[in-house]
Point group: C3
Chain length 292, copies 3
């Protein structure tokens, strides 16, 4: 018996993600078991369905992907899945609800191609969402000094506190952006800015961006115009504009997709991986090194 | 990487159609992504999951099938899918909810094998449902003069008005059937009659059918007795009865299945097809010619 | 066209069983059509989707598996499926909701490896659940005298009455266990005891078991401690303890899995099998003989 690659797809949305499914198939998965409307209390029995059907020595051919549009719900499902494992009864699991991990990894890798993160100051705009928080976390682990920007001080501080607790030595500064002047201050003197705001909201105008002294890299993850960083185009993938190396949502997305596919492939090499932000970023870094 | 054939199956019913799935698998689809309970507002994100996961040059390997038991809901899903496409970001899509298109195509092709449609008068009974309306439309495009029959005058007129607006030069006559005499009048002097009524309702007795002068072809799409046309058997596939060439629901269905499978196969040849009644009928016609 | 093996999985639970799906894939099924939240009134149309898509000569490549966590609901779905079949329009179908049939078969086969069932007295504890009832039924058919034990007299009698009606000559004694003394009486002088109670409930202490005269085989289907039979370990698969041959839930489960996989494979040999307790037990027996 050849043991096929089975991926259990858990999704909090009623309609499970088609995006996640096609990527998984293109990454070589043989069979998808797709579940929508999944709640944390459903996960144990679903996971047991993988744990108790194949010999422990074959469990690396079964894995779990947690997707969907809602990253916090995805985090709850991930916790429930990991809680279901015991002893050798475990399978590899990846979280990428709303693309939070692959997007964060690709964005930080893009920045790291142009500035030495360990010596850099980086501003993350709209840093309090799932992608923004992960970007801050990854940057902090690389030794960057990070300005964690939000419209509300309390949110920015909350993110800083949580990440400081998780990343020893993290250098984080909460920044409140409640005016044009505050936005300009937030990027003054930084080497890179990453904008993680929602679709159709401009967080920095092109003029603000151009006038920031020392800025080298501008990364915008908002694909729907108006974009987050004025003048940065969605397809930018290292284009130079106004002296800044620019990346747009689609430019980052292309690399994100490669990381996503590679991460799915990796799930089936062992039965004990938990691929969250750090692990997926590390994989992306390996891929970057391998590509030279 | 070999790119597998992925078919996104959208279905308004809570339980997605098994029928549609088996036909798709037998037509060579590698992976089905089956969705039940789909509403028009769900379609864009589901379709995006196809559009943004593969290179544009590979999008012909992804396609959408809209099935289920409810044709009008299927029409809404088709519109939502086509609305989600933009520029080169599109995939081929087929509508066949409740078999409306493949059944209509097979029924009109059956009629056309025995009478020259462009010169014929054809009566469509119970013409106001999804299958009936499509049959009227296809007949009108072939140049037939069509008597559009319903129990209610206003429904028959509504169908005529809508099809006249869509098919330039369509020759349509609304016919109200509110008595046995009206039923007899409706088929007097026509070359073919197609009955599209619901299961277990006889629309014409065998005697009425036999006494219709000039009638050559009788097609009945109701598989559950009492059948729509008295004396026509479900398995009839060109049988001669009382001087009429007869087709029953199963006789038409056999050809319908071949068209359905061929249409699924065609979806994967290009990424820009919209297979609705006319396109599926044209495909059936090609198949008929190819078969000699 | 190679006809692929398609298995329609019907499940009353909202989230269809992952366990059942992985077993089916490992048994060689090519495509699963998985349905959760299935009610008996949904089954006909779903089954028709198999019956009307392939030629009768190919229907053995389509089959139905009824799983999920609720055996009585599974029984209702099985009835609805069989009711949908007519004439040659049928596919093979297997019921194993909550593993009721494969577990019962494996448990009775385990007992039969060590005692001659036709000459034995066997006690079934917590015999009124789906697994317990099936074990009583299979034992009765093998000619064993069965003590049918429950905490409530009326439940024990109900099971006896129903099985006596189904199995001519069945030798059944209802037993009420409402005290420690009653538990001891229930196994006094029997050759085998099978415990079918729920997780975390001990039905017999180790001391009670040890003091039962004549007891040779102790089988416990409760995997979550406290186990049903004191001292029997979940992984026991014929281990000798205190002079008893012991089987625990995992020990029985290993054989159960083999029977489950083999039964799935068998579904695709013909299109007219109904695999319920007796048929699955017979298959397990064949496998045991073949293995020597």
């Amino acid at each position: 018996m050849t043991v096929s690659k089975v991926l259990l797809c858990l999704d909090a949305d009623d309609q499970p993600s088609v995006f996640d499914s096609v990527v998984a198939l293109d990454a070589g998965v043989d069979h998808l078991l797709r579940h929508g409307g999944v709640r944390p209390e459903n996960v144990r029995d679903l996971a047991y369905g993988l744990l108790f059907t194949r010999a422990v020595s074959s469990l690396r051919h079964s894995a779990i992907f947690i997707g969907g549009s809602d990253a916090p719900q995805g985090e709850s499902l991930l916790k429930a899945a990991v809680d279901a494992f015991f002893g050798p009864f475990r399978v590899s699991v990846m979280l990428d609800a709303n693309g939070c991990n692959t997007t964060a990894a690709a964005a930080v890798l893009a920045a790291g191609r142009h500035v030495a993160l360990a010596d850099a100051v980086v501003t993350v705009l709209a840093a309090t969402g799932p992608v923004g928080r992960r970007i801050v976390r990854l940057l902090a682990r690389e030794g960057a000094r990070v300005r964690v920007a939000s419209r509300r001080q309390i949110h920015a501080e909350g993110v800083c506190d949580r990440i400081a607790a998780a990343v020893p030595g993290a250098q984080l500064t909460p920044v409140t952006i409640d005016s044009a002047a505050a936005a300009e201050d937030a990027i003054e003197g930084v080497q890179a800015v990453v904008s993680c705001g929602p679709p159709q909201i401009e967080l920095l105008t092109a003029d603000q961006r151009k006038s920031a002294r020392g800025l080298q890299v501008a990364i915008d993850l908002n694909a729907v115009p108006p974009h987050g960083l004025g003048g940065v185009q969605p397809t930018d993938a290292g284009e130079s504009r106004d002296g800044h190396v620019c990346y747009g949502a689609l430019g980052v997305g292309k690399h994100k997709m490669k990381i996503h596919r590679a991460a799915i492939g990796r799930l089936f090499l062992r039965n004990d991986l938990v691929l969250d932000a750090e692990e997926i970023y590390a994989l992306g870094k390996e891929m970057q090194h391998a590509a030279g």
